[in-house]
Amino acid sequence: MIDYWPLLGIALVVVGFALRFNPLLVVAVAGIVTGLLGHMTFLKVLATLGHGFNENRYVTIIWIILPVVGLLERYGLQERARTLIGGIRGATTGRLLIVYLAIRQILSALGLTTVAGHPQTVRPLVAPMAVAAAEKQHGKLDEDTDQRVKAMSAATDNVGLFFGEDIFLAIASILLIQGSLASFGIQLTPFQLSVWAIPSAICAFLIHSTRLLLLDRSLGRRK
């Protein structure tokens, strides 16, 4: 007999996120409820939560980059990024982001996943450049368009990372695939697996680039 009760925790997360309660609160409540329904005592749940939090501190380390980014913004980094793009003839939001997508995919495929990212490159460089290029095409942006261009900059970083990194042999997900299949007696080398990440990577580039060119067209139209 399968015990379905712990799944209630998932439902709590979905409902909590949909109703836009504070996500930290939603996650903590869902965790505690799931644990209790999974026949753990409250103290055991608390200990599991604390242990998990402590073991995963490395996830939060990335923020140590903010003092550098903030300091450079104080001295005009975003303004400089805009000036640079403003001076390049033929620069459009779509073309700029396509170039960034390609660079991000290639660097990730070489295993250099932390070279770029939202705090490292998107906030200080890519998003201001994309907005500046959009202003060149479109004139002053209304707030919706400004938000759309910024969101697309972040989206481009994610697509580039996700659909580049698996081409690299020693990335965690490839090792996980290898390990999972090995536990069923299916032996594969990382190379055999990473080769099959290439067709999806090409599809990702084509699909997302098409959307970026469409974004360019809609930016040009509303001038």
Binding site: F53, P67, S173
Partner: protein, 318 residues
């Protein structure tokens, strides 16, 4: 050997700096809440290993309460005005990019040095911590370079860092909280339950339907758990190996690799993958916290179809 603990000491110091910077910002009506929030995180980085599991659990509850009761906010303090920034930007020119590029450059050169030169054998850095250690080195070098060159006021990095950090707010710890939730989910047996449910609705006879269920299962389960890593072993055990590989004779390399990538399409569409989807929305000051996800759905869905076709064609017909 440099281990993750060195970085935790550094990160604790930076978060203590965020606490200090928040306390200094009088334009933020909730500044003491922010000070407590970042102070607790600094404490977690410095003393987490001495608090014990229950102690850490209590720390998490206080942290969550601070955010959940809306005790943290955001100031309006502007360090330099827009006009000043334009002036600085004109004066310093493109050299301003230099410190920003030091961090990726350090990561790039460091990764090459520690993977492809004799440095690898010296065991200077714990192999599990290499990328993060390089990030930390890059940050320190970039800070020193910026201070030496820009002659900024002593506390400028603290104030500017906290300005950005308070803009992100509670979203900064959401990825870590979700990782802890994953630990509880695993302990409560959520993965096995979902695997059993999926295993019970497998269609028989049609390879295409089985492929479809495998890929969609990866997407849905990834959206629930927030990352494809948790979903993959479950789906492989429920459908991938018994049905697709053993039953229908599919190519295991394709089933494995493209199955994972189908899950990544789910990662693009879920708030549970907070560090990719929610955090950047906060970092870019988007009004809609789901703005990045909205921008990604139209890429994720066609890409999912492409992945299903690759699974079906390359997995069974090549």
């Amino acid at each position: 050997m440099i281990t993750l603990h060195w970085l935790y000491v550094l990160a604790g110091a930076v978060f203590a700096g965020f606490a200090l910077g928040s306390a200094r910002d009088e334009t933020n009506p909730k500044r003491w809440g922010n000070t407590a929030f970042w102070g607790l995180l600094a404490g977690s980085f410095w003393f987490g290993d001495f608090l014990g599991d229950i102690g850490n659990g209590m720390l998490v509850l206080v942290l969550v309460a601070t955010a959940g009761l809306h005790l943290i906010g955001c100031g309006t303090k502007e360090s330099t005005t827009h006009a000043e920034r334009e002036r600085f930007s004109a004066r310093h020119g493109n050299k301003l990019f230099l410190p920003a590029l030091i961090i990726p450059f350090t990561a790039f050169v460091g990764t090459l040095l520690f993977n492809y030169t004799p440095l690898k054998g010296l065991n200077l850095i714990d192999p599990k911590a290499v990328t993060l250690v390089l990030l930390g080195c890059g940050v320190i070098i970039a800070l020193i370079e910026s201070y030496a060159w820009l002659r900024a006021p002593a506390l400028a990095a603290v104030d500017e860092g906290s300005r950005l950090m308070n803009g992100v707010g509670w979203a900064a710890v959401l990825p870590q909280m979700l990782a802890s939730l994953g630990v509880i989910f695993a302990a409560a047996g959520v993965g096995t339950t979902i695997g059993a449910i999926v295993g019970a609705i497998i269609p028989s006879g049609s390879v295409f339907l089985a492929v479809l269920l495998y890929a969609l299962g990866m997407v849905v389960f990834t959206m629930i758990m927030g990352n494809a890593f948790a979903a993959f072993p479950v789906m492989v055990a429920a459908i991938g190996v018994p049905i697709l590989i053993h039953g229908d004779g599919g190519n295991p390399a394709v089933i494995g690799a493209v199955g994972m990538l189908s899950g990544f399409c789910g990662t693009l569409m879920t708030p549970m993958a907070a560090n990719f989807n929610i955090v950047p929305a906060a970092l870019l000051e988007l009004r809609n916290q789901y703005g990045v996800i909205r921008a990604q759905v139209a890429t994720a869905l066609p890409l999912l179809i492409a992945n299903i076709l690759i699974l079906f064609i390359a997995g069974f017909h090549l």
